[in-house]
Symmetry: C2
Subunit: 269 residues, 2 copies
């Protein structure tokens, strides 16, 4: 197989062409910065048996779990979000959870696929981060070339059937004066987590130590900045752990699915 | 039972108190104008067997079917939208569909209830009509004291499992100059049908004769006005007919469920 190419060679490519490259094994790294203007998505794969509960879970917890696509059982093609794509091969990296623990990390999941699996795509924060940048708002982890810090909170999701667990949030520090604009800009995208779920004191949502996120990289917070928290698409993985779900396959953090949807398709309207 | 009282006696009452009156049989008429500021909802009741398909159908067709609550199977209490309410008794009027045909109209559905029934609440146009009025936009059918005209279109909903059918739309005529404001005002409420799905030529969406709506009352359109069409919560009833669903129980048109949610809870953010 050809070697993985640098990200510069991929800029400006369409989501379809990028998926083809990923499918051929030519890109197995994070997808931040690719296919700008197009929505990227979190992946969650579950058995049909538990898929009903997950659909209800997403309905009850739209901030962390904004559902943008559900495949038909056994069909790995997301016909609404990316016709012709194959969710078994078209993400750069996957995580396989068994009974609530990470069992494997894979670059394709064909051998795990079954006729009773259903794939869910959830909107992703890349959509609103692009909007923040266009609005002149700082996005610190992008400035620093790091992953966004993510925290398990004391906010319990509304349970659904067998599924329960804490909400996971991502955090972006902002100057206090920038908070209203950040709320308005991100609130335009309810299908990509929408407006923040919390602004200010981390302890109020059970986050003890900003310097030690449960996922992603530690943040750099400047004097006068306030932490701002958004619902995060890693929440289903926390639910897999809390509810010890038999089998859940997800994207690996930062290794998202590139849809053909425009970021603007995830805007309110 | 006490006689049905006039609507004037009910103005200013809370949704909870109104539901109690409806439950006692003191109100079996349309709910327009009641509990202003609170969201009213379309009701759809299905068996657990077909409920999965309906959840996916709503995800794939959010304009006509904006889902705001799903009950646990067998539980008639919508714990998120109206804790303590009972969806079997708290609507003024119901329709029972068997194999795609209206079998009965009822003022309560206790005798139909089963342990495998799931209730769905969908956002309702009353939410955005209130916003239109506050924005100074004309809402013709309200001015005329009539029901909104509704049309079966040639727009096919994205199917989901056994469920398929045409999108039903509601229509409100507006001066051309008022169309942008109407789009912006209603677009704020994606969980209450959001922005229009079509503006202008009815034939483009398969509506042949505005004077003969399939549901509701004929419209009065003034010179210089353009017809504006929104996704409509009657769509599931068209689906019940098209897909000959074994059993579907809905509200009777205009006889909605009064939730404790604020209209603003259905706004984007």
């Amino acid at each position: 197989m050809p070697p993985t190419t640098g990200i510069d060679a991929l800029r400006g490519m369409s989501p379809r062409d990028l998926r083809a490259r990923i499918r051929r094994g030519e890109w197995d790294r994070p997808t931040a910065g690719l296919a700008l203007g197009f929505a990227q998505a979190n992946l969650v794969v579950l058995t049909r048996e538990i898929a009903y509960d997950f659909l209800v879970f997403c309905q009850r917890n739209p901030k962390p779990c904004p559902l943008i696509e559900v495949t038909d059982p056994g069909n790995p093609e997301p016909v609404g979000a990316a016709p012709g794509a194959d969710l078994r091969t078209d993400l750069p990296r996957y995580r396989v959870y068994r009974r609530g623990r990470v069992e494997a990390e894979e670059t394709e999941i064909t051998r795990y696929w079954r006729d009773d699996l259903v794939a869910f795509l959830l909107g992703c924060s890349f959509t609103f981060e692009g909007a923040m940048e266009r609005a002149g708002l700082p996005v610190r982890h992008l400035e620093d070339g790091r992953n966004v810090p993510m925290y398990v909170t004391s906010i319990q999701c509304r349970p659904a059937g067998a599924l329960h667990g804490p909400m996971v949030v991502s955090m972006r520090p902002l100057p206090e004066s920038a908070v209203p604009r950040a709320v308005l800009v991100t609130g335009r995208y309810p299908r990509a987590h929408g407006a923040p779920v919390h602004v200010g004191d981390p302890a109020a949502i059970g986050v003890r130590d900003l310097a030690h996120p449960q996922f992603g990289d530690p943040p750099r917070i400047k004097p006068g900045e306030v932490p701002v928290f958004w619902g995060c698409g890693v929440t289903p993985q926390a639910v897999a752990m809390a509810a010890t779900v038999d089998l859940m396959i997800t994207h690996a953090p930062g290794h998202m699915f590139l849809t053909d949807l425009l970021d603007e398709d995830l805007a309110a309207g």
